[in-house]
Symmetry: C2
Subunit: 468 residues, 2 copies
C-alpha cells in the first residue's frame, strides 16, 4: 500500500511498456535487457533498469533469472529497494540471495522494514550469518526482530507487527486524532482500525478509522466502538487466515496469554498466507513436496522423487495382485487387455472424491456435523457413476470381444471399484484429519493403492469365478 506502483505519476516510469505488459507481467524484452546489462557488467544501466521497479516486480524478475544473474542484480539494488524486495522473494530464491549478501548490506536493508517483515527475513539466515547481521543493526531494531523470532514459526506472533494504534475508552474522537498527529512517529505507517483498550491494555473494541473520520470530535470512543475478534499470539497462521477470511477482517488485534494487546495483523499478510496454503495443498495432492520456483534440477528432483518411489511401491503391490492370476490371464489374454481400464477409472473417481474431501476439510465445510451425510452421499454417487460407467464398459467389451460373461465381469468390477473409490476417497482424508495429519499429503497414495488393488483383484478374481 505504502508503495503502490506509479501508474499515474508522470515522473516515475515504473509501469512503462518496457517493463510490464498489459497483464502486469514482466516482458521477455525487459528481462533480456537486464540479462544483457548483467552480462556486460554495466552497473549504471542495470541500476537504471531496476530503480523504477516495484519491489514485487523485482522479486518477479528474480524468478525469471538464472542463479548467476540473480547475484549480479541483487548486488545492484539500492538498500531501500533491496530491503523491500527481500520479503517478496520466493523462499528458495531468498535463501540463495541471503547467502550471497554481505552482512553489512543486509543489516542496512533490513532497517527499512517493519519488524515482522525483517524477522521473516532474518529467520532464513544461517546461525553465524544471523549473528553478524543482527550485531550490525541498531539495538532497537535488533530487539524488535529478536522479540518476533521468540514466537513459534507459523503463529500469529510471527505475523504481527508490534506497532499498533490503541486508545483508552474514555478518549473522544478529537483526543484520538490529536494523539495520532502528535505521536505519529511511534505508530504503524499504515493502520486500518483503532483498538480501544481497558486500563490493563486488554482490547475491548475496535473502530475502523473511516468511522473515526466521520464522527464528530466530541464523540467518545466507547460509544463508537464495535466488538473485535482478538487473535491469540500463539494461534496458528492458518487459523488466523480462516478468521480473517470468514469475517472479512481488514486488521485484528493480537493479545498475549493474559489478554493484553501486543500487536496487530493486517489483511495483506493474510492474502499471502491464503495463497501459500492453497499452493501447498494443490502441490501436495499431486505428490510434489515443497518445490520452490527458483529450484534447479536437483531441487525439483528432490521434491518429486519421494512420491514416485512410494508410487513404485504401490504399483509393484498391484503387480503382485495381478501375479496371483497368471493362470487366468494365460487362459484368456483379453483379461490383460482390459484390466487397466478398471484400475484407471477407479483411480480417477478416487481422485475426484479425495480432492473434494480435502478441499472441504481445508475450508472447514466437512466436520463431525455432516461427515456421515457426506459419506452417504459419496457412496450414492459411487453407485450411480458405477452403474453408468459399468454399463458403458460392458457394452464396449461386448462389442470388442463378444463374450457376455466377460462384459458381466468387467461391469461388476467397475461398479465395485467405483464404490471403493468413493469410500476410500472420502474416508481416508477424514481419518487423517482426525489424526491431526495433513490430509493432502498422504491421501493420494492410500487412495490409488486401494483403487489399484481393488480394481485388479475384483476384475481378475471375478473372472476366475464367472468366466473360467
Amino acid at each position: 500500500m505504502s508503495d503502490t506502483i506509479a501508474t499515474l505519476d508522470p515522473d516515475v516510469t515504473v509501469q512503462d511498456n518496457e517493463a510490464l505488459d498489459d497483464d502486469y507481467v514482466l516482458t521477455a524484452g525487459f528481462v533480456e535487457k537486464v540479462v544483457d546489462a548483467a552480462d556486460d557488467g554495466d552497473g549504471p544501466r542495470l541500476r537504471a533498469l531496476l530503480d523504477g521497479l516495484h519491489p514485487a516486480d523485482v522479486a518477479d524478475l528474480m524468478g525469471f533469472l538464472t542463479s548467476e544473474h540473480r547475484t549480479v542484480v541483487v548486488l545492484g539494488l539500492s538498500p531501500d529497494l533491496l530491503g523491500e524486495t527481500l520479503p517478496e522473494l520466493d523462499d528458495g530464491i531468498r535463501e540463495e540471495v541471503l547467502e550471497r549478501l554481505p552482512a553489512g548490506a543486509l543489516a542496512e536493508a533490513l532497517q527499512e522494514l517493519d519488524s515482522d517483515d525483517a524477522a521473516a527475513v532474518v529467520e532464513d539466515l544461517e546461525d553465524d550469518q544471523r549473528e553478524r547481521v543482527l550485531s550490525a543493526m541498531p539495538l532497537v531494531d535488533r530487539a524488535a526482530i529478536e522479540n518476533s523470532l521468540g514466537y513459534a514459526e507459523d503463529t500469529a506472533g510471527r505475523l504481527m507487527q508490534r506497532e499498533v494504534m490503541a486508545a483508552p475508552q474514555f478518549w473522544t474522537v478529537g483526543d484520538t486524532i490529536d494523539h495520532v498527529r502528535a505521536q505519529h512517529e511511534e505508530l504503524p505507517e499504515l493502520f486500518f482500525d483503532i483498538y480501544v483498550v481497558d486500563p490493563s491494555n486488554k482490547p475491548v473494541g475496535g473502530i475502523p478509522i473511516s468511522w473515526l473520520l466521520r464522527a464528530g470530535r466530541d464523540i467518545r470512543l466507547s460509544d463508537l466502538m464495535e466488538p473485535v475478534n482478538v487473535i491469540a499470539v500463539d494461534q496458528d497462521q492458518e487459523e488466523v487466515a480462516y478468521i480473517f477470511e470468514k469475517y472479512h477482517l481488514i486488521s485484528a488485534p493480537v493479545v498475549d496469554a493474559a489478554g493484553r494487546l501486543v500487536g496487530q495483523i493486517t489483511v495483506d499478510d493474510i492474502v499471502n498466507i491464503i495463497q501459500e496454503e492453497n499452493r501447498e495443498d494443490i502441490l501436495r495432492l499431486a505428490g510434489v513436496s515443497d518445490e520452490s520456483r527458483g529450484a534447479g534440477v536437483l531441487g525439483v528432483v528432490r521434491s518429486r522423487i519421494p512420491w514416485l518411489i512410494v508410487n513404485l511401491g504401490t504399483a509393484v503391490f498391484a503387480s503382485l495382485v495381478i501375479g496371483q492370476f497368471q493362470t487366468e490371464i494365460e487362459t484368456l489374454v483379453a483379461l490383460a487387455v482390459l484390466m487397466p481400464v478398471v484400475a484407471s477409472i477407479g483411480g480417477n473417481a478416487g481422485t475426484q472424491a479425495l480432492t473434494v474431501a480435502v478441499r472441504s476439510l481445508a475450508a472447514r465445510e466437512l466436520t463431525s456435523a455432516n461427515a456421515m451425510r457426506i459419506l452417504t452421499r459419496e457412496i450414492m454417487v459411487g453407485l450411480t457413476n458405477g452403474v453408468t460407467i459399468a454399463v458403458l464398459m460392458a457394452a464396449i467389451a461386448g462389442v470388442w470381444f463378444g463374450l457376455p460373461k466377460l462384459s458381466l465381469t468387467i461391469g461388476l468390477a467397475v461398479l465395485i471399484n467405483l464404490v471403493a473409490a468413493s469410500l476410500a476417497g472420502t474416508l481416508i482424508p477424514i481419518i487423517l484429519d482426525r489424526l491431526d495429519r495433513d490430509p493432502a499429503v498422504a491421501s493420494p497414495v492410500f487412495v490409488t493403492w486401494i483403487t489399484d488393488t481393488v480394481g485388479f483383484f475384483s476384475f481378475l478374481g471375478l473372472a476366475g469365478l464367472i468366466l473360467l
Copy 2:
C-alpha cells in the same frame, strides 16, 4: 468488518460455546439443536438460536443442513440477517434459497446490502422473479443494482461499490475531514483510501486514511497523495485479484473507459475471489467441474461423470494399444503382470509436472520469458527421475522374474515414459494457455492419455524387440 462478531461484548452471545467450537466451526450439537427446532416447527426457539449468529456462520449452518431444513431456517431469519447472509452463501445453496423466498421478503432483505452485494444476489434470480423483486424495491436501490448488472459478469464493474470517497487536489486535510463529517450519509460505510481526483474526476493519486489522520489540517492533499493503481471497469476479476495480491492493495479506484472514477474495489471482495479461483483450479485438476457444497447426489454425479466418461475413452484407447500385443503377452505373461507399473509411474510423474505448470501459469510465474528454461529443466528432471526409478524397477523385476532382458525392457520403458510425462505435463498446459483455454480443465486428460499410451506401447513394443 462492519459486522465482526462479538467476542468481547458481553451482551452478544454470538461466539458462546454453544454455536462455535475453538476453531470457529459450528458444533455438531448446535446444528442438531437447529434441526430439532426446525423439525418441531418451533419458530421462537429457532429465531433465538439464529439471531446471535454472524451472517458468515448462518451461511455455514446452511451448508450443514438438508434442503428441507434450509427452507425452514431461511424463512425464520430477520430481514437484516437474511440480507447479510445471502452474499455469504455458496452459489448452489443461494440459488435454491432464492427460489423459495417470496419476492417481497427478498426485496426487503436486499435493501440492507451495498449495491455490489445486492447485484450479486439479483443476478442469480430467474428473469420473472428478478422483475418482481426489483419492482418491489425503492427506485434508487433498483437503479444501483441495474447499473451494476450492466457490467459483464466477472469484471471489476460487478465487484466494485459505487460509493467512494473522492476529493480534489487543492483540498487540505482539514477540508477533507470536514467534508467526511458533513457528507457521511453519501459515503461508503467503510473506506480505506481517499482518491484524489482532477477536475474531470480522473484519479491522480490516493491517500490511505491513516496518513490523513496523521497529517496536520493545513496540509494539501496533493502533497500527501501517492500514485495509485487504477482498475478499468471492464477488467477481469482474476486480473484485479492479481494486482491486489501483487501490490498488497487494500482498496483501488475503478475508472470508466474515459479514465473517470466510477467506484472502488476493496480487499475483502478480493479474498473471496482468490479462494474461489483456487478452489476451481484444484477441483478442475481432479476432473470435478463446478460442484457446489450443498449439491445433492445428482448434482455431484453431474459434476464428476463427464470426466469419468472421457477417462473411459482414454483407458479404452490404452487397452487398444495393449490389444496389439496379445501374442507377446501370451508368450510371456509376466508382461501383463508388470505393464501397469510403467503406466502408473508415468501417470504420477505427469501429474506432478502438470500441477506445477498449471500453478505457475496461474501465478504468472511461467511466461514466454522463461518457458524454454522451465521446459529444459523439466526434461532434465524427467531424465534424472527416470534413471533412478528405472534402475529400481529393473532390480525389482530382476529379483522377481530373474530375466535380465525383462529388467532391461521395463527399465527402458520407465525411462521413456518419465521423459514423456515431463514433456507432456509441461507442454500441454503451456499450449492450452496460449490458446486461451484454462489449462486446469483439459490438461489432465491429455497427459494421462499420453503417459498410458507411451507406457504400454514402449514396454510391450520393447518387449517384442528385446525379449521375444
